[in-house]
Symmetry: C2
Subunit: 213 residues, 2 copies
Amino acid sequence: MNSEKKPVSLAVIRRLPRYYRYLADLERAGTTKISSKELAALMDLTASQIRQDLNYFGGFGQQGYGYNVSGLKTEIASILGINQSRGMIQLGAGNLGRAIASHIDFATSGFDLLAIFEVDPKLVGSHLGGHQILHVDEIEAFCRQQHPIAVSLCIPEEAAEDLVPRLIACGIKSFLNFTHYDIGIHYDNISVENVYIGDSLMTLAYKTAALEQ
Amino acid sequence: MNSEKKPVSLAVIRRLPRYYRYLADLERAGTTKISSKELAALMDLTASQIRQDLNYFGGFGQQGYGYNVSGLKTEIASILGINQSRGMIQLGAGNLGRAIASHIDFATSGFDLLAIFEVDPKLVGSHLGGHQILHVDEIEAFCRQQHPIAVSLCIPEEAAEDLVPRLIACGIKSFLNFTHYDIGIHYDNISVENVYIGDSLMTLAYKTAALEQ
């Protein structure tokens, strides 16, 4: 085992949630240990890819035994920081906002969804997925009290341009960004994860064209 | 200019939609040409990164002139295959399905959304974003007539396990997959683009923890 931390590329980090999901499924199914070969077959990877990915973090596997499923899952959770719970708010309770607040498990992803903000007076005051919908003008007062660090932006691009500086002034540092507003370009010392569904669709167009060749 | 095609990594392909969006914005704003340095400043990249990405496809830029905005946009559209229009269907008209069908511009991403399928009898027969909502049991008959090649899966994971084999039997080859069902593992000769919002949230947790260090 190697206790020195090597720099880990974001490409490896991005593969960890998938490992985490598979390990959580295995744990739920009662599997306590798994070899890199078995895990590779399950995830359609090679055993050497798996060993390479997990070696970045010091291994966790024992020769001839394999991985302890719960142990490895806990380690990955710790590496990703999802064993913590950081306050998050969401902006937008439209179709996308409703989908995110209802279907995404914030708690197992390291966040605690505290409240949802909207401009539409028809939605303000109601609840969504057990969360209160407040008016966007309450953001500042809410943040002074609850100190959320992250936001899920389910709003139009134009609204994001106006609201992002307000959020940053409130101490928000992390953005799950569904808008095309390129937040990372405009601000330093923040973290942004863009979910660009239109870009994924364009990439699918490329892959579809490649299939036809 | 190099007319030989080098193999292009998917990492480069995944960057092209962002170039495309910036070039489309520039074109809309009336900009006809741009240097790699100007484009780099706009996109928060280095000029050499831009030249490296675009050189994969033979360049397009002229020394001392820069890029022709419309020309480069057209080339990128052609590389991505989004200048074509492939028939697509969507499964699911719930919150996520409504968000996708209302907000995503399928036409500029190389697809033509033909119809949406649902199991909920309250939704079947109505319209969503100008598209007809049909019952899932009509998929086979619809595909025989309209020959869609792609699908957007806005349904629960369990439903995906049942429906994906039916879709493949209908000739569907490309999947925009919002479910955690790992389609690519189970079938060959298909293309899949996964949009795993929960994984993005976990990656954001990692980036947030990294900010705090």
